[in-house]
């Protein structure tokens, strides 16, 4: 249903995404991993048409995504929801309004400007919020919520779009582990219950392994790994992160275990001086 061929993006001389190709035949939960700057965000942004591609083709159920213009392009964006690392909600607006923004692509500009959202949309928004367990915050301002709650509002907005596909750009990178888990679980549940395709950029191997059906690894703009999470050995990870033999998986983990030796060293120093 999604076919990407030779997708390329160049910023000046810097090639952010370099002839990436892959196809997805049925709704899957896909994780994209790679070091910072590997081109993960750029790829998702091109698929959603937030950024224009330099070359290549993206086809979704027969639609030639990259050539869409104007209304057709906005329709595509409304079919292809996007979730961001920083949530990208309107912080000063209440939660329901933020969720209702998911329908903007479909409603007339004038009506939305005067806040004329149909009643059933409002009900649906509440239902979605309830499903994500944050219905009681519906009337609060988005900025008053915790990070994990805000990300769930963003997911609610995405669901409101009734999208065929959800793109998530490092959805848990700014969350603490507790919230990260809630959010990843929500995404997984949506994938399973609604059968929507989910493509998520992730920055830790363990998250990708835990939640995804398929993992794509990128390095310097190229796809260097594509397979089931079980195939993601330490060797494969080394290739993706371009690390040497001293690579240890923890270097990409959110758990900051590596600080321990340091603290011990400091203690030894301190004892030496005392």
């Amino acid at each position: 249903m999604l076919a990407i061929e030779g997708l390329t993006k160049r910023f000046g001389t810097n090639t952010a995404v370099d002839a990436a190709s892959f196809t997805v035949d049925e709704p899957r939960m896909i994780g994209i991993i790679g070091a910072s700057g590997a081109g993960k965000s750029t790829m998702l942004r091109m698929i959603n048409r937030l950024t224009d591609a330099t070359e290549g083709r993206v086809a979704f159920e027969g639609r030639d995504v990259l050539t869409l213009r104007g209304k057709a392009r906005r329709d595509w964006q409304s079919d292809c929801a996007m979730i961001f690392q920083q949530f990208n909600l309107v912080p000063r607006l209440d939660v329901v309004s933020n969720v209702l923004h998911g329908t903007l692509g479909r409603r007339s500009t004038l009506a939305t400007i005067f806040n004329l959202f149909p009643r059933e949309d409002i009900h649906r928004a509440i239902d979605i919020l309830a499903r994500l367990g944050i219905a009681e915050h519906a009337a609060k301002r988005a900025e008053a919520l915790s990070g994990g709650q805000q990300q769930r509002v963003a997911i609610a907005r995405a669901l409101m779009q009734e999208p065929k596909m959800i793109l998530a750009d490092e959805p848990i990178a700014s969350l603490d582990p507790m919230n990260a888990q809630t959010v990843m679980e929500a995404l997984r549940r949506i994938h399973e219950e609604d059968g929507r395709m989910v493509i998520a950029n992730l920055h830790t191997l363990d998250t990708a392994r835990r939640y995804c059906d398929r993992v794509i690894g990128m390095r310097k703009g190229r796809i260097v790994f594509d397979g089931a999470p079980e195939l993601l050995t330490t060797g494969a990870a080394r290739d993706i992160y371009g690390a040497g033999a001293d690579f240890s998986e923890e270097a990409t983990s959110t758990e900051i275990r590596e600080r321990e030796p340091y603290a011990e060293a400091a203690l030894r120093d301190a004892e030496a001086t005392v």
């Binding site: 959603n48 937030l50 392009r73 906005r74 329709d75 595509w76 964006q77 409304s78 929801a81 996007m82 961001f84 920083q86 949530f87 990208n88 909600l89 309107v90 912080p91 000063r92 607006l93 309004s97 923004h101 998911g102 903007l104 692509g105 500009t109 939305t112 400007i113 963003a154 907005r157 779009q161």
Partner: protein
């Protein structure tokens, strides 16, 4: 550790010396400019500063001397001139409103990252500069020539200036707006108007409003002044009574009191509202 690279010291003393020199020069230039400018202005003036100082209060004294015995008529004058005051305030309000709305569009169109069309950004910016640079009185006088006297020329003139002044402040606010919500809205397929209205306006509206209130206060003053050149309102009345002099100072005093109270009231009102907007709960 006892070893200190003497370079750091030399470097620091060098910097200290240079800084002292520069600030000395800047200070000297400033004092020189101020002193020579003052002497020049003093010389070109009809009356000198020192001779004039003892007489500073003569004019107010005249006004009070003329108005005080007729203080009983003051309330009547206040009533007489109230409609003119209303006109002045209306001029300010309409021009702030109209200029503010246009400023919103111009500022959005000239902010990088928000502009509908990125290319003409410099055009809109120059346009704002131009609006700001032309003093209201110039536009008002020309429009009075074409449109005849009355409030409309003043309104257009002030609105024009307001576009430039508010446009600049607004676009500074816009530049600090968080683009993430806008991007979020783009990703759902929102149009430009929707992105601006739902993504930008909620963030910046309190600041816009705060600046617009400040401008309104300034515009009340500006519209009173334009009355001096025939644009109607309280300024026109004030000028006529003031220049009549002895004999109508009681009316002048009444108008002055009206004008002054209005300015103070709006000043206090707008700073109270602005304080609430920036510190307290926002209204939107």
């Amino acid at each position: 550790m006892a070893y200190v690279d003497s370079d750091f010291r030399a470097h620091y003393f060098e910097m200290l010396r240079r800084k002292r020199l520069y600030s000395g020069i800047v200070l000297a230039i400033f004092v020189l400019l101020l002193a020579s400018g003052f002497l020049l202005a003093n010389d070109r003036n009809a009356g000198g500063f020192l001779q004039g100082m003892p007489q500073v209060l003569d004019f107010p004294a005249d006004v009070v001397a003329d108005a005080a015995p007729k203080v009983a008529e003051l309330p009547a004058h206040l009533v007489t001139y109230f409609p003119a005051l209303l006109e002045t305030v209306n001029i300010a309000a309409v021009s702030t409103l109209a200029g503010g709305v246009l400023a919103i569009f111009v500022s959005l169109l000239s902010t990088r990252g928000l502009a509908r069309f990125p290319r003409p950004i410099p055009v809109f910016r120059r346009f704002m500069d131009l609006c700001r640079a032309i003093p209201e009185i110039v536009i008002a006088l020309i429009l009075i020539f074409v449109l005849g006297g009355g409030p409309v020329p003043a309104m257009i003139a002030i609105a024009f200036h307001t576009i430039g002044a508010l446009g600049k402040l607004f676009s500074e606010v816009n530049e600090n707006a968080d683009l993430k919500p806008v991007e979020g809205l783009s990703s759902v397929g929102a149009s430009w108007m929707q992105r601006m209205w739902l993504g930008v306006v909620p963030q910046v509206a309190p600041n816009w409003l705060s600046y617009a209130l400040l401008r309104f206060e300034i515009n009340v003053r500006a519209s009173a002044i334009l009355g001096f050149v025939g644009a109607g309102g309280i300024g026109y009345e004030l000028k006529n009574t003031m220049s009549w002099g002895q004999g109508k100072f009681d009316e002048a005093a009444a108008i002055f009191i009206l004008l002054f109270l209005t300015i103070v009231v709006f000043d206090q009102l707008s700073s109270a509202v602005r304080n609430r907007l920036t510190h307290g709960r926002a209204v939107l």
